[in-house]
Symmetry: C2
């Protein structure tokens, strides 16, 4: 019997001591121990993997582990497949060649490099071709008489824009040499998006049917700035999911290879993915006219909620924060952010809300903030900005001849709030949580250094209509944390009398699908028009989107829950001629 | 006689109308017309080149130019080498394959793709492997009986980390087939750094000597957010520079091929470049102990000055600004920024300075700001923050039990200034110019949303000691714009009584070379110690650097004047275990 042990691990980037400790403890047990992609270092490392100190620390760590492995008694019943980096260095110590590899760990012998990742993703948030050199051969690995086909992450995701298909290459070698492959094993560090688990399982099912053997998928857990790794490791045999591990929780599971039975009679259906769109597509219902955003199911909402809470804790934990601070406005975005932070809190952590009304804040806003904080038992502090606002206005009126009105008078309120919020943050050591949503970010409907401030953004990957959806879900499942009045009132920035978002923007149920078309499907005016939108709303949206690039360029990290998000993987020049798009 | 016309062009990204107009006018003349890399689109496009609207607009533009070329009378004496993109598209219109190519433009016939760039740079600010597919063959192009060897940009920069050497491949084909190559032509879009022109010429000299024919280098002019293109096109024959075009100015020059004489007897010396360091190295004098920063020569200072003024104008022009706003503190950074803006001004533009003293501002600061503005004839506005500061302090004291002191009391002053500065910017429509320097950015010695605000940073790629150097240069060459008192006083943030930078930081003449070692040479503790620095100052510097990543992540674009800068090409995770470095 061959036992495979799946280590769905969770470590901080470059936390070599914890990683070594974990490996030592886990390799005590019998079986073939599997670890996720780049287990020995963490992922994504970006330029860290080019630094002298990183490389030295890593190689020391690797060398110590290798010595420890050598010092163990030989033991046939225990092996590890341990992914890590492999360096060739120049004479000056800097890297000449870096490979993303799998090491076989053998007690009594040490590490042996057995496979180098062949497909290096280089789209969107991925920059692997910047750092790594691809491998060339297939890897069949034998453990206790069972032959396994090994891959790393992207190797299973071949599509038309990769110039190589590692699965096909492995399949052909298996056929030609009549190799009795018992299982495919994919060791991954695969970023989360709310629609991805489904996609992974569909893909794995097809691969399992094609190879007529079970497929094992192991993924890491972690939050690296904006990018989350959800784990969600699984084993699939034909059409049957025989193991599914949890999302966003580390864990260990084992499977006994000969006992996994599957029905491999079905013919696999590989959907040929379009080069770019296939990666970013699932959000738009294009059969309706105008197109609509897909609505998240309860299950997907639960996953998004878990992802946001996890991502917040990861960032806070690694930055050393135990307190959070949210500016409550009486509107929905800040209310949902506060509810999410409250749901995410661990023992010993707390959150505080600040309400900073101006002369334009409705009494209803005050009442709703107070009601919300009573319900969820969060202290609410009042810091009115009326006096500061008039003080600034007076100073300007006395100093300058220009009028103090319009956008000047609106933005100053937002920036006074940003300043007060960060002053409070300095005073208590709390982390400021940003409250912008993706619609707002996409059209620049926020004040730079004002309501756009924050250490991290929870809603920056959710359109406004999705903020509504998630708020309702939170209220259903967690007992009406957010007062109905907040959900039902019309959205307003409250920077002038009777201001409503809808005075400046298309209605969100039309704006959001247009934005999704622009961002995820790379659509322009012509294609949006083909999806049933009117010329006026398209031009308004494109115009706002194109002119607000500079605001997004200075925005905080956004917890990524979609395939296409603002942030590291979104690379659009600020300066360009806009006419091509209009 | 074969005439080659070098078009050192300057167009905004995707400004297809201007680009087409320029091509039409220039192709009127006789000769072989040469244009820089991606002339037809601009560079770098990043994700723009994946969008439906961009591709459609580009292909229309290309098609119209092609029709226009076809409609011309046939003419043997006129050809163009016109770099642009070449798309293969999926059925849904999105790109399947994009190539960075040279088209031959033939009057009476149209465009013909003759070469695809072979080396796609993918390090630092370059992401070309994300978008483009490399070409496979050499390109020898004949014009009026003269054979030319063609390359695009990076093709001439092979080093050990590229797995291909286009120069060698061309050289071998030339040798094997005994091809009478008369000139090498490199069409580039090569980002500026202050040490690069020298490097380009050295390289070109060696290539010219190796091939025993002249080398022509054509580069574009432009400022794309942080990245500048300086033009500086040239022709070199053996050791002799036979043509040198201006930096940061568009222009047209021509050379007659048979008339370029060179001495090719010398043996070329190719310095084998290290994979990474060779790209980023020139700033540190490592023979001294401790290592020192190289001092910019007068010529280099002139170039940096030109680059900063050019970059400012590019960004402002493309964003539609005609007014500038600088917060003057009485310190050197803001004084130099104001002087630079003043020197950069074009007719119809103006700049205003604001001085926002707090209770900790020395009387000397006020006097120096006033003196500076008198000298350079810039209006100075006084907006004291004393009253706002005490108002905020009172509000906090009344609302919260925590003390209002230390960092809280310091940062609030800086953030009040950020708020006032942007309020004034809203009022006048002026662009706020950031005043941070590279040393400050590297150690996080600034207040987020306070003194770190701005639309663009002029000094963000200059260490503090380089700020001194450039200030002195500006004063020497442009008549003492900056009062001596500003240059000679000790740097201070003036956020508490008698505060000096040197209370918190190592002296700049030691800090700056350590930072350059960390950033450009990727050095760690061990290597810095080897350069003669002490453990205490190294640890202090590394600690400050590692903990301030989150501030840099929200910083504005920095005009890039070095090979290694903060910004788009600097990719370091915010969250990581810091122990590996300390």
């Amino acid at each position: 019997m061959a036992r495979l042990v799946l280590h769905q691990t969770h470590h901080t980037l470059a936390d070599f001591d914890s990683i070594a400790e974990y490996l030592k403890v886990s390799m005590n047990g019998e079986g073939l121990h599997l670890f996720p992609e780049l287990f020995l270092t963490g992922y994504p490392l970006q330029d860290l993997c080019l630094q002298h100190a990183f490389i030295d620390s890593y190689e020391n760590h690797f060398g110590r582990l290798n010595d420890w492995l050598k010092s163990l008694p030989k033991k046939e019943s225990c092996r590890g497949l341990v992914p890590g980096l492999h360096y060739e260095r120049e004479t000056n110590g800097l890297p000449k060649k870096i490979e993303n590899v799998i090491y076989e760990a053998v007690p009594g012998t040490g590490f042996r490099k057995i496979y180098t990742k062949r497909l290096l993703p280089n789209y969107d948030i991925f920059d692997e071709q910047k750092y790594f050199v691809p491998g060339k051969g297939n890897c069949f690995y034998e453990f206790q008489g069972n032959l396994l086909g090994l891959h790393i992450c992207e190797d299973m995701w071949t599509s038309s824009f990769h110039q190589l298909d590692p699965l096909d290459l492995m399949f052909n070698e298996m056929r030609e040499n009549n190799l009795p492959v018992k299982m495919l094993v994919n060791l991954s560090a695969s970023p989360f998006d709310a629609a991805k688990n489904h996609k992974r399982i569909d893909r794995a099912k097809n691969i399992s049917l094609k190879f007529k053997c079970p497929f094992l998928y192991l993924n890491r857990v972690g939050g690296e700035d904006e990018i989350l790794f959800d784990g969600s490791s699984f084993v699939i045999a034909g059409n049957e999911l025989t193991l599914q591990m949890k999302s966003f929780e580390k864990g260990v599971e084992s499977v006994d290879l000969p006992s996994i039975k599957g029905n491999y009679a079905e013919v696999p259906v590989f959907h040929p993915e379009n080069s770019w769109e296939g990666l970013f597509s699932p959000q738009l219902e294009t059969k309706k006219s105008p197109a609509e955003l897909k609505t998240w199911s309860d299950e997907e909402c639960a996953l998004i909620l878990k992802a946001l809470c996890f991502g917040l804790q990861e960032y806070a934990g690694k930055s050393g924060f135990r307190k959070f601070l949210v500016a409550l406005s009486g509107g929905l975005d800040s209310a949902l952010v506060l509810a999410l932070v409250k749901l995410a809190l661990k023992p010993g952590q707390d959150v505080e809300a600040i309400y900073m009304p101006s002369i334009h804040s409705a009494i209803l806003s005050t009442q709703l903030c107070e009601e919300m904080c009573r319900r969820i038992k969060v202290p609410l502090r009042h810091l009115p900005i009326k006096f500061l606002h008039s003080t600034v206005k007076n100073a300007f009126t006395q100093t300058f001849t220009e009028k103090f009105e319009g956008l000047t008078d609106e933005n100053v309120q937002s920036r006074l709030r940003g300043m007060l919020l960060y002053t409070r943050s300095n005073q208590t050591g709390a982390m400021v949580i940003n409250t912008s949503n993706k619609s707002e970010l996409a059209v620049g409907y926020s004040t730079q250094y004002g309501d756009s401030v924050g250490a991290i953004s929870l809603l920056g990957d959710l359109y406004k209509t999705e903020v509504y959806r998630l708020a309702r879900y939170v209220n259903e499942k967690h007992g009406d944390l957010i007062p109905d009045g907040i959900i039902s009132r019309g959205p307003s920035a409250e920077l002038r009398q009777n201001q409503l978002d809808q005075d400046s923007l298309p209605p969100y149920e039309r704006l959001d699908p247009m934005l999704e078309g622009i961002l995820s499907y790379r659509l322009g005016k012509k294609e949006l028009s083909g999806l049933g939108f009117g010329e006026e709303e398209i031009l308004k949206t494109l115009n706002l989107y194109l002119k607000s690039e500079y605001k997004r360029a200075q925005f905080c990290p956004i917890i990524k829950i979609k395939a296409k998000s603002f942030g590291f993987g979104y690379r659009i020049p600020i300066s360009k001629n806009l006419k091509y798009h209009l």
